[in-house]
Chain length 350, copies 4
Amino acid sequence: MENKIKVGILGATGSVGQKFIELLKDHPWFEIAELGASERSAGKKYIKAANWIMKEPLQNHVADMIVKECVPNFESKLIFSGLDSSVAGEIETDFANAGYFVISNSRNHRFDKDVPLMIPEVNADHLKLIESQPYAGGIVTNPNCSTIGMVLSLKPLHDAFKIKKINVVTMQALSGGGYPGVSSMDILDNVIPFIGGEEEKMESEPRKILGDIKDGEIEFENNISISAQCNRVAVIDGHLETIQVEFEKKPTKEEIIDVWNNFKAEPQELKLPFAPIKPIHYFSEDNLPQPKLQRDIENGMAASVGRLREDSIFDYKFIVLSHNTIRGAAGGTILNAELLKANGYLDKII
Amino acid sequence: MENKIKVGILGATGSVGQKFIELLKDHPWFEIAELGASERSAGKKYIKAANWIMKEPLQNHVADMIVKECVPNFESKLIFSGLDSSVAGEIETDFANAGYFVISNSRNHRFDKDVPLMIPEVNADHLKLIESQPYAGGIVTNPNCSTIGMVLSLKPLHDAFKIKKINVVTMQALSGGGYPGVSSMDILDNVIPFIGGEEEKMESEPRKILGDIKDGEIEFENNISISAQCNRVAVIDGHLETIQVEFEKKPTKEEIIDVWNNFKAEPQELKLPFAPIKPIHYFSEDNLPQPKLQRDIENGMAASVGRLREDSIFDYKFIVLSHNTIRGAAGGTILNAELLKANGYLDKII
Amino acid sequence: MENKIKVGILGATGSVGQKFIELLKDHPWFEIAELGASERSAGKKYIKAANWIMKEPLQNHVADMIVKECVPNFESKLIFSGLDSSVAGEIETDFANAGYFVISNSRNHRFDKDVPLMIPEVNADHLKLIESQPYAGGIVTNPNCSTIGMVLSLKPLHDAFKIKKINVVTMQALSGGGYPGVSSMDILDNVIPFIGGEEEKMESEPRKILGDIKDGEIEFENNISISAQCNRVAVIDGHLETIQVEFEKKPTKEEIIDVWNNFKAEPQELKLPFAPIKPIHYFSEDNLPQPKLQRDIENGMAASVGRLREDSIFDYKFIVLSHNTIRGAAGGTILNAELLKANGYLDKII
Amino acid sequence: MENKIKVGILGATGSVGQKFIELLKDHPWFEIAELGASERSAGKKYIKAANWIMKEPLQNHVADMIVKECVPNFESKLIFSGLDSSVAGEIETDFANAGYFVISNSRNHRFDKDVPLMIPEVNADHLKLIESQPYAGGIVTNPNCSTIGMVLSLKPLHDAFKIKKINVVTMQALSGGGYPGVSSMDILDNVIPFIGGEEEKMESEPRKILGDIKDGEIEFENNISISAQCNRVAVIDGHLETIQVEFEKKPTKEEIIDVWNNFKAEPQELKLPFAPIKPIHYFSEDNLPQPKLQRDIENGMAASVGRLREDSIFDYKFIVLSHNTIRGAAGGTILNAELLKANGYLDKII
């Protein structure tokens, strides 16, 4: 245990923070050493400060930790941030300036030009942006939960057949709205056809993620047209998305399935602890994937695709499902940290 | 009461049949006189034969009616059919041959070349197809429940700006699957991204509905590209659909809203009893319409639209909601019958 | 319109306040003239101050009213209070002292010895308590939403057969928790077996409601043992309760049903506008009443009972359903006001 | 693998049969060798015959098994039966007569005087009834899913303080109704206050389970009064029950908690593979246990209790939760088989 990297979690009482705690239990490389939250929680035992809503029971040694304020006086040099975006920007900058490595799930730094917006299977090469960062430490961010499944399923197709247009309609889970989030009175027997800011994120983030590094900077992928429509449905976990795609060169259905089935990237080669064995699982059944049935595949770290068929307006349409609080948030962030470590970026802080 | 037109209902024990019974209570023109169902039910009192699942209590005089077999020996010459498609085709033909006027919600005759596939606000002129029918009586059909809201919201736009492409993704209610329909174990905390045959109906029916009559036949509207993706969500009533549309001549947002707000057609001019005052209600709020909030607008007979915004792939995107068992099934069928009567087509049978 | 009694609503932006507004539309005796809410809302148009969550659209003339602070400078002398219990006590006292008649849905004054805890069909005679009140105006309160259905169904049985023990287990609707209330993440695919303070209310309120007036004071009904267990379930509206009851003198099943079917009280005799024609509807079907099917009976103002059967521990068990936000809150409060008016108690303020 | 006991599953395509298959994967003692189902399925590969609805993917070697008819020509001598009660009685008798050991989840033989109605932690001593059976093989049954959690939580209290009265109200999960079971249209936004036959089972089964063996026969525990009321709620898995109990000698709250916390029985001592380490988990939080949070405790094999408090009619009230398809059905049946094996009852068939 002594050899594990000590980790601090910012925003530890929120739903993303709690998911970090749940998922980091028994992590082979990282151990939770410090928890940060708002002034209101600081000074209290974690179990008193947090309203634990995860399914797995809270571990005793974490329950007893005294929550700290989110100021850069942590001993742990690796920081996971699940901070609310209303405060994340400044706090994360402060930590990075003070020499901490901040792996964030918040949106504030996503479009900083020297901050990787990272999906390890998609743009591991963006890590080198870190070298341009002005910080004594560093910052790496996670895309939005609804972006991750989409881009993960499209990346190998883009590499193989060059995508021109992406049209996506989402049916997103309640946990994506945080806790308490969506009122039960609003969603039972209902769909809410609006999620503030979500469509904009889905239309902009892929351009950075799929961009190429030129002269130390990311050249955004602006040749793809993207249109997103986002809806909230009465599902606890798992974002389901219908996707239509047009290619420069239309492949056959079999070629697409082959590309998905054979897709592996750096996290798989490095056998990172949180990396799914197969990042993309293809289902041939008419009615799969479904949130309740497939969201937990590969511990919630893989995307599931299905219903691939030709389209009369675009080239193909299909559906993709991914677990929004695991792959799409806390689990994705942990995988980012693993990628950093495997590439030596954490050497300076441990 | 004596002056009302006597009506027979085929498939009276099923969910569409029950909705006919519920909606026809107190109808100013029609009165339920006879009920037909399968052999298994025939000879029983309706209340014994049917598992009444409507919210409104069953009226006593209907409860006590003896269910008949679905053979053309009814006294009522106007027939509403909610028959299952496994038997509807032949039975409806038999009734029409025997001089009955069959207003059907089943799909079997929808693509018969001399049968109107009718949405009264959209293609009332198709009624004249009836004159080509070989039947002593006649047959008129209803489109699929997911088609109606879409076409109703698009028809005035097509008239004004000529539509070239329609892209639709649906989130459809449970009642669209009949009763008992979708298992609770399949849909609670879930979305089912597949409804058998539904996408094909949505891609084909609009071509007939929007077609023009040439030389006594419908010339299908084949210049529009249509792509549909259909999903089942945990909502009791009300199909919500995201729609993207491309026009020959892109209008402004205001022009579209004006067209919707001013849309009226023959049912409104004739003040048909089941006609909504405004067939299309536009909402400017970010998060409306929603199934639970707007499905019952104008007694479930109007479509609600909202979230109109420019699209980066098509010209515009918006959402439409309509009540699938009222406007999309039994209520739409009743409006069809009203249109027939108002145009004199029922004169020969009453 | 000029002859209607002008009404002010306190807590107008909350869910009970909104329900008052929805239900008072077209009321034959009362018209909404003023709206009060917290400082944060005061001075704004109601439509800007409130997040309207009722199903019926907000009426324009109410939407445009300027919200007032909850201080006793209203012109309307009849006040409906849906105030949060954190502030209701003092504000309601202030209004009553200043000569207003406050009909409250809040719990603060329920156990004041001179304040009626009123269910018009049950204890209309408690109205005379008002005469002992020290206020220039007056205060009348409503019981808790889960108490009302239970006591309404038990009152005629108590009169006829004298109840000794009441055992109740509730399955309560989400709307009872206010808005936003219960998080969707907590209740989807779940039951929450706890509602703070609810069991205590159900065990204490019936003692006052069923008490007799002796020498101008209520003698509590302390001869009945009451045990309550309260649960929250995924239902929008309608509290369902299983009830077991033991009598001094065990009646037959038929006697109980007769008592229920024949039950009428002062609101029915006075034909108060919000009074149900039959306060109690008995269902003989095995599986009724159900929240979704029966909650709206008599516009949500009647209780539905069913599954009456002998019990091996108590004398009988049965279930009761009542609409928690109508009969159990705003509608019940309005009926209280109607009873006051019909008995001349409002003469001094109009 | 060769040393495992080969097992046949009757009713293999139904939901209980599927759960057997899911749970027996990697069982240390048993391996699935044969599958039986109705004539309609017999002769087909299992994957073609069954509509697999479990969350865990179906194992390939089971998917490829050819389904047999349910006639006693199986090679496996240990038989798990998830047969529908319409056919289970006779088929199970046939197998037992032919020398098979049938561990059944069906209700048909539950009240045969020589058949144990078994909860291994409660009445392991009833196993010796088997010796009176006329069969070449034998039959052991499982109680109803709603009985198991209740009796498991009450057994140690009965041993310590002698129970006189049990009053139970259930909120039962959808999976208890089989598949497809409850229609989504019936349960969304609703509670169904009736489950056919369920209350009778809960009132009768505990008498046999808690009975003592006298002269080779069970003397039913008829000194306890039991009253049950059963409701279906919108929860996928996990029956929640409110229980009130009266003792001969009222213990303190702490004594009850101690008894629960220290409860262990034969399955724990024998360390049976499916035995929970602690059969009963006590929660001190106000609002626990909840179906979604605690149903999977100890792989779904333990009961969770909470909200223990004094009652004004009985001595105490509390809630109990148990997983209805694991502890309450397939998992309980497997534990029964393990108990049989550990006690040598299977020696004659292996």
